[in-house]
């Protein structure tokens, strides 16, 4: 069943020199009393330098756990298997380390966390400690990864706050998270992540908890900073609109597996997996305002003791008994840079925003 993994290891077909992070057959399993919960089950991803990879899926599809696995901060009792190959150093082509092999409390992974791979979170209010000043928390990251000198760290923190468009940064440094507005908090969060000049920025639904107007500002900010610093971004969201705005490549996840993996244009104009197509159908559209908004039938199964076969079987309109539910469905290559985990990938009409059918 794992025969097909090799097919896909080149990711979305990027030139190898560009690749700074490669995830191979990543599995995150939680061993609970009730059984084994396969949160992430054989995921392959490729992150290219200066590009944004969007990971999209419903809640519970394993996208957040994937991002946690990249930093090896999967909560207990989760275990991480597979390979996470990171090219270390700012040059981008020095030594490669497999993060899975590192001790998750060890020194090396700690120098990577925040230093090489930084993360911003969904709810900035909860992500900041309420009893430490914003400045203290930003400087902590800088002191860990860039300098040992307090006043130097302070200068860098101020500079970073300025660069993320924080008003009155000197005063903000000494304020506590609850004194900031939601948008300002998320800017501070981004500043904290960027202050140590990471190569990869993981953004885990960074705009979900924000007002729509603030959302746009934050997205724009992330895009600007990406241009300026050349940081690669892994952008996790359940919002296809945001994906369109942010990503270069997109991985669609369902039940711990990548079901469709391609560049953003191909996805939006030629989606082939029934799940991806269903996702597009459930976006409210101005053009088709008198149509009833479609939703995907059924609910995501609980990822424990799942039956063999395609995870989308129970909700799929195209599902065929005796075919889809018999064995693991491999990821098929339908064209260069386009991989679909569906037996009918070839015969499917390409879906997406461009094709109403």
């Amino acid at each position: 069943m794992s025969v097909n993994i090799k097919k896909q290891s080149a990711g979305a077909g990027a030139a190898n020199a560009d690749v700074i992070l490669e995830v191979k057959d990543l599995k995150v399993h939680f061993h609970l009393d009730e059984g084994k919960l396969k949160s992430v089950d054989g995921v392959n991803l490729t992150i290219r330098k200066g590009k944004t990879l969007g990971i999209v899926g419903e809640s519970g599809c394993g996208k957040s756990v994937t991002s946690q696995a990249l930093l090896r901060i999967v909560p207990h009792p989760g275990t991480v298997e597979g390979q996470i190959l990171l090219k270390r150093g700012n040059t981008g082509n020095s030594e490669t380390v497999d993060l899975v092999k590192l001790d998750d409390k060890g020194k090396e992974i700690r120098s990577i966390r925040g230093g090489e791979i930084a993360m911003i979170f969904q709810e900035p209010m909860k992500a900041f400690s309420p009893i430490h000043t914003v400045g203290d928390q930003i400087m902590e990251a800088i002191l860990l990864h860039r300098t040992k000198d307090d006043s130097e760290a302070r200068r860098i923190a101020l500079e970073t706050l300025q660069s993320v468009g924080m008003s009155n940064p000197v005063q903000r440094m000494n304020e506590f998270p609850h004194q900031l507005s939601g948008g300002m908090r998320q800017r501070a969060m981004i500043a904290m992540a960027l202050a140590s000049h990471p190569n990869i920025l993981i953004a885990d639904e960074p705009t979900t908890a924000l007002d729509v107007t603030v959302q746009a500002q934050v997205l724009q900010l992330i895009n600007e900073l990406k241009e300026k610093t050349g940081t690669s971004v892994i952008f996790i969201t359940h919002d296809l609109g945001v994906i369109a705005e942010m990503s270069d490549d997109v991985a669609v996840m369902y039940l711990g597996k990548v079901v469709e993996y391609t560049d953003v244009d191909t996805l939006f104009y030629g989606a082939r997996h029934p799940y991806t197509k269903a996702l597009f159908h459930s976006i409210p559209s101005v053009a088709s305002r008198n149509k009833r908004l479609e939703s995907i039938e059924g609910t995501v199964p609980f990822p424990m003791n799942l039956p063999e076969g395609c995870g989308f079987y129970s909700r799929c309109p195209r599902a065929e008994d005796g075919l889809c539910n018999v064995t693991e469905i491999p990821l098929f290559k339908v064209s260069e840079n386009h991989y679909v985990r569906c037996l009918f990938a070839e015969e499917q009409n390409p879906g997406g925003v461009g094709n109403e059918h």
């Binding site: 120098s111 925040g114 993360m119 979170f121 400690s129 009893i131 506590f176 609850h178 904290m192």
Partner: protein, 332 residues
């Protein structure tokens, strides 16, 4: 911050007045006033009762006047002259009877409080970070026992076990030669080892309770997002634990000093009777048995006032440690 303290202190004044009214009410509860009991006492011991003395006392405490006036006179005597009333049983002013003993009670209670914190916090942290480990279960079980077994029973059992095995009765706080000696360094040193038993016994249930609270609070905090944020920054685990979740978990515990302290003083009252320590407990009991209400009431009043002050201190400490309270911000 100063505003906050000032506001809190102002809040205390009506509270203290209310406490004093309750205490005075309790003093007045037994039928007859204390003078009746006093005269009865004197007659029983065969002393002639001097009319003049009685009239004097009656006037001094306003016993011929209504409740509210008696209360005001009592308050006036207390605040202006430091006169807490008279213990007929000891035939001495209450302040003289209580003095030293009250100090020892406070010393024992405060040491117990420190003991509770020093023991409970590390155990709570261990239990939370090693949830469902064998030691966690052991501590949880000990915690249950500590909560269920009242201090005076523990004291009784310890006394019994020590007595049966060594023939030594470990009651009291001083060796015989120091009991009536004035305070000196030698007396303090003599007392220290004997403090261990009352402190441990009194602190037992408080420790058990605090371990549970600390464990629960820390488990709550450990799963919070800001811990993951800090970990994602690359902060080392030990440092992370103490800088963020432990700090956060301890904050609410500080506000528990407010009720830990009265609980410890409560516990001390009974344990000290069993251990026969020269603190306020045994005296309170005797006072109550003979309905020596001024003595008992004063004790109650002082202990309550000290509790209120302890609560005030813990509130100020908490405000100093937690910016959300200091700046009147929103709680999450």
């Amino acid at each position: 911050m100063l505003n906050y303290i000032g506001y809190r202190v102002l809040q205390l004044i009506p509270l203290l007045i209310a406490i004093s009214i309750i205490v005075f009410f309790i003093i007045q509860l037994p039928p007859g006033d204390f003078l009746d009991t006093y005269i009865q006492q004197l007659e029983m011991s065969g002393t002639d009762v001097d009319e003049g003395t009685i009239l004097n006392l009656q006037k001094q405490y306003g016993l011929d006047q209504p409740f509210i006036m008696q209360y005001l006179i009592w308050m006036k005597n207390m605040l202006l002259e430091g006169d807490l009333g008279r213990s007929f049983q000891w035939n001495q002013p209450v302040s003289e009877v209580i003095g030293d003993r009250l100090m020892l009670t406070m010393v024992i209670s405060v040491i117990s409080l420190i003991f509770v914190w020093i023991v409970a916090i590390p155990i709570g942290i261990y239990s939370a970070t090693h949830q469902y480990s064998i030691l966690d279960y052991v501590f949880t079980f000990i915690g249950f026992i500590g909560l269920a077994v009242p201090g005076f029973l523990i004291a009784l059992v310890v006394l019994y076990v020590v007595f049966v095995n060594t023939g030594v009765s470990i009651t009291g706080l001083f060796s015989p030669e120091y009991v009536d000696a004035p305070w000196s360094m030698a007396k303090v040193l003599d007392m220290l080892p004997r403090l261990v038993l009352p402190v441990v016994v009194i602190g037992m249930s408080g420790t058990a309770g605090l371990i549970r609270v600390m464990r629960g609070m820390l488990l709550d905090e450990l799963s919070k997002q800001y811990v993951i944020t800090a970990r994602a920054k690359g902060v080392e685990e030990g440092r992370l634990l103490y800088k963020y979740p432990v700090r956060m978990a301890i904050n609410p515990l500080i506000s528990t000093i407010g009720w830990t302290l009265p609980a410890l003083i409560s516990g001390e009252a009974i344990v000290s009777i069993v251990l026969n320590t020269p603190t306020t407990g045994p005296i309170l009991l005797r006072a109550l048995m003979f309905q020596d209400m001024y003595l008992a009431g004063s004790f109650l009043l002082i202990v309550s006032v000290l509790t209120v002050l302890g609560t005030l201190l813990s509130d100020i400490l908490l405000a100093w440690l937690d910016p959300r309270i200091r700046f009147g911000g929103v709680a999450d």
